[in-house]
Assembly symmetry: C2
Homo-oligomer: 242 residues x 2
């Protein structure tokens, strides 16, 4: 936790906060903070800044909060991700949110195992908790939007054209010959990046995406797990963000 | 498993292999392969190529193997990593090996919890198994060398100068103002990259490394978990490999 995130409801008045939950435990046990110490706080979907401890005991931490800084810039990236297996999904949500991704579409694909859609990881509470963990790691406050799309063709044909409008559209696809661009010319451009399941999108799915304007890109001869491919591709596509 | 790795001892003669273990199960159950099918094989620390199934039943798979291709190029990178917590270490070894890292030094640092050094993940058999999983994912055959260095100062003062000789030397350090280079001028240059523990190297450790010629680099205002930072930094430092 490199920033402690607050909800609007945590505020007793404009700049007074009292914490009694796991955040209080974190401040006492992990940060080992004392009275008058200053820590980094952020309001979920709002600004970030300092909080000074004005009272602390084993039951509560009382803080004077001054949020005056903007969170770091979001990546202009929409991630369209064939639903990974639940354990991997957890790590990918947390790391993608940490990297600054604000829009994630979890979609179906021929090679996505049906059982993955039943996973409790897909519950809103779990996705929210993973997103908050990602923000707390990366010192960010802006929650991502995560959408679940259980039907490939209706999503790609009816919704994706609007979603990907005005973006460069790429499919991470180990079988293609076109290398992933790493170019200043892409800088600050919106990108919509589709990543297939283990084994990749099937040819028919690739063709459907290509019809919308998506271009396949590879990243060398190595086949990477999705959780490794996501940070590699983000670092290549947005070199000036890292 | 995108390549099936063989040991020299698997060969009955120059190009005949019989598999009866988990690799046989993988070929039958996951790949659902049949007689005459051709699959990708590699000799550990050797070449890769095709294997044609000439006999298959529930107890064994018999293959004619022809290894004529070189594995993908290794990254000219030495990773010097403050020992992460065991769960994270597992994922970092697997993903780094998948990315082509061939030299990993696991070192101590002030903020490394002592208990981490007791983890069974550090046993040679476990590190080998994780490395093989990384190679099998990435279609590579060359095992990494993984070294354990339990004393920071003697390692840095007595061994690291030789290890990092003729390399660009960087420390991933969120607190520095110098951004991570992403430059063609670095291309194919050897790099020695040091990554601290959760909370970072302490100032004294940074200074000791700087005395050897290491330069601190950051990757934006976001603080990334080591398992996310490694692929991001590798993609930035070696843009032409991905």
């Amino acid at each position: 936790m490199n920033i402690i995130l607050l909800h609007g409801s945590d505020f007793k008045d404009k700049n007074m906060v009292i914490l009694k939950d796991h955040r209080k435990d974190h401040i006492i046990t992990v940060l080992k903070a004392k009275i008058h110490d200053s820590l980094l706080f952020g309001l979920i979907n709002g600004k970030m800044g300092k909080g000074i401890i004005i009272n602390i005991d084993s039951s509560k931490v009382e803080l004077k909060i001054n949020l005056d800084k903007n969170p770091p810039p979001a990546l202009p990236l929409t991630l369209v991700l064939a639903l990974p297996r639940p354990k991997m999904l957890k790590r990918i949500i947390e790391s993608s949110v940490g990297l600054g991704v604000k829009k994630i579409y979890l979609i179906n694909s021929w090679r996505v195992e049906k059982s993955f859609w039943q996973s409790p990881v897909l519950k809103k509470e779990t996705l929210d908790a993973l997103s908050i963990a990602g923000l707390e790691q990366a010192k960010d406050t802006i929650m991502p939007q995560i959408f679940k799309k259980k039907l490939f063709t209706p999503f790609v044909k009816n919704e994706l054209p609007d979603i990907a409008q005005n973006s460069s559209m790429f499919i991470a696809h180990p079988k293609t010959a076109i290398p992933c661009p790493c170019s200043k010319t892409l800088l600050n451009q919106s990108i919509c990046l589709a990543i297939g399941p283990e084994g990749g999108f099937i040819d028919k799915e690739i063709k459907t995406l290509e019809l919308l304007g998506f271009k396949t890109i590879n990243f060398g001869s190595r086949i990477l797990r999705t959780e490794t491919a996501v940070p590699v591709l983000i670092a290549k596509l947005f070199p000036d963000f890292f």
